[in-house]
Symmetry: C2
Subunit: 293 residues, 2 copies
């Protein structure tokens, strides 16, 4: 099986877990569950939960204990996309080839569906910590909260929004990608390592790898936004240009951006390969930067 | 000292803790901290953190351990107000006599400031659970997450938004108030009790009291919206009417609503008075339903 096939199998497994944590509801508040489920099951790659569970397995952990955290991180990621797409933000009508939440349910319910997913992620992690109260579970929750929070993903989103229509320097661009995208991948790798009972040094290595992988992944996204078509990408191409968004491509050009993707991804791959069971994460990194959509 | 004076002193203490958890930032992302601080320090009563800390004290707990949870619950409450006020929701220009977040900072930053406060609450609680990993801390976090989440506060907000402009029955009205308002007060009382090491029965009693107090408090708010003036209330009066909102007053009329406030608050007071140190919470309940703003 190649990496893509393995990723697809793992993604389907995660879909099953998400179904358990986010079931259809018949009673109040069924509408909010419908909206949360619409975005959660809109066909994501499940990259963050796969990274979390695979890291846990790679380091000899019991990935069953990691499932609630994996689902929580996917919910946080999905909430961030719903809010990103809002008219006040990127104002996107499509995401993964489907109408965005506010186009489908209206703006009020889209805001609440995003809020709901973040709430639900917090609740699922808190429940997991109560069920299995240990240093590992609370530290995994902390890693995810920090990756997502005001010094992580959210700060990247804030600077991204504030930078629209302005010229920004390389340092700011790196800040955006490192936080908006990489911080949550770091959170996933870190939480997976912690849940496996990894050493402090191993956790730090995974954090390092997450930064490299995350920034490479986001530059690859910037390049795809220019080179791909709507059909391949499932969302409007050149949407960055439309929004006068700064990207690695607008700052460095396509060739230099591709070189950076190579360098960063190779650094991440090197780290993964120091682990005897690191092959899947190394291959996944290569697959992610080579993808066409 | 009367109850209002005690409440003010406690609120000032909480302001000091909030200042520590939400300091001014000079570097990225300073703007989001400015927006989060603007709403947090806009002059709230600090009711939820006061309830949490007072319950913890009443039951013989160490309220120092409870401070991060008290700050987290105030941040969650403030986030919910910022999102409630958005144009897609209640579209309010004023809150507590000051411009609402989106009027002051624009809609994008207001959405993100709300998100940021929810993220930050999660992070503060996770940090507290790491610092002091125990059944008490994780269960307190769970109580707050549940009170705020998709089966708590958020579900009330969803049904409230979906009911605008429609006639709703008593059951739905109760659902909204119980969840939108009471669930977080229940979360505060429950978390305070858990952190004090209360028995299961004591925790359940506080949950009961929270429901009664919360619904009474919200009906009092409905009545104030009709009877108070802008100057007293700090936000436009008759805003419910403007938004075609269902309230206890539109369903039951003012007299019957006042009767319900009395009955519910007395039930809460009875519960508080069964505790030897329950006087403050009993007096606070009375003060809250008698308030003029």
């Amino acid at each position: 099986m190649n990496c893509k096939e393995v990723l697809n199998i793992k993604a389907k497994e995660i879909d099953g877990y998400l179904e358990q944590y986010l079931p259809k509801q018949k009673e109040y508040p069924s509408e909010i569950f419908e909206a949360m489920r619409y975005s959660i099951f809109a066909g994501g790659k499940r990259l963050r939960p796969v990274l979390l569970l695979s890291t846990c397995e790679m380091l000899g952990g019991n990935s069953k204990e990691a499932i609630p955290f994996a689902c929580a991180i996917e919910m946080i990621h999905t909430y961030s996309l719903i809010h990103d797409d809002l008219p006040a933000m990127d104002n996107d009508d499509y995401r993964r080839g489907k109408l965005t939440s506010h186009k489908k349910f209206g703006e009020a319910l889209a805001i609440l569906a995003g809020d709901g997913l973040l709430h639900h992620a917090m609740e699922i992690m808190a429940n997991a910590c109560v069920e299995n109260c240990s240093e590992k579970t609370v530290k995994a929750m902390q890693a995810i909260a920090q990756g997502a929070g005001v010094y992580g993903m959210l700060s990247g989103q804030v600077v991204d929004v504030l930078s629209e229509g302005k010229e920004i320097d390389e340092k700011t661009m790196y800040f955006i990608h490192k936080n908006k995208t990489a911080a949550m991948l770091q959170g996933a790798l870190k939480a997976g390592a912690i849940l496996a009972g990894a050493t402090k040094q191993q956790v730090e290595m995974m954090e390092q790898a997450g930064e490299k992988l995350g920034v490479a992944f986001q530059i690859a996204d910037d390049v795809l936004d220019i080179t791909s078509s709507l059909e391949e990408l499932g969302k409007p191409v050149h949407s960055d240009e439309k929004n006068e968004k700064n990207t690695y491509v607008t700052i460095y050009g396509i060739e230099k951006s591709k070189e950076m993707i190579q360098n960063l991804s190779q650094e991440a791959i090197c780290i993964f390969k120091t682990f005897s069971k690191g092959t899947f994460l190394a291959e996944l990194t290569q697959y992610l930067i080579d993808r066409k959509s």
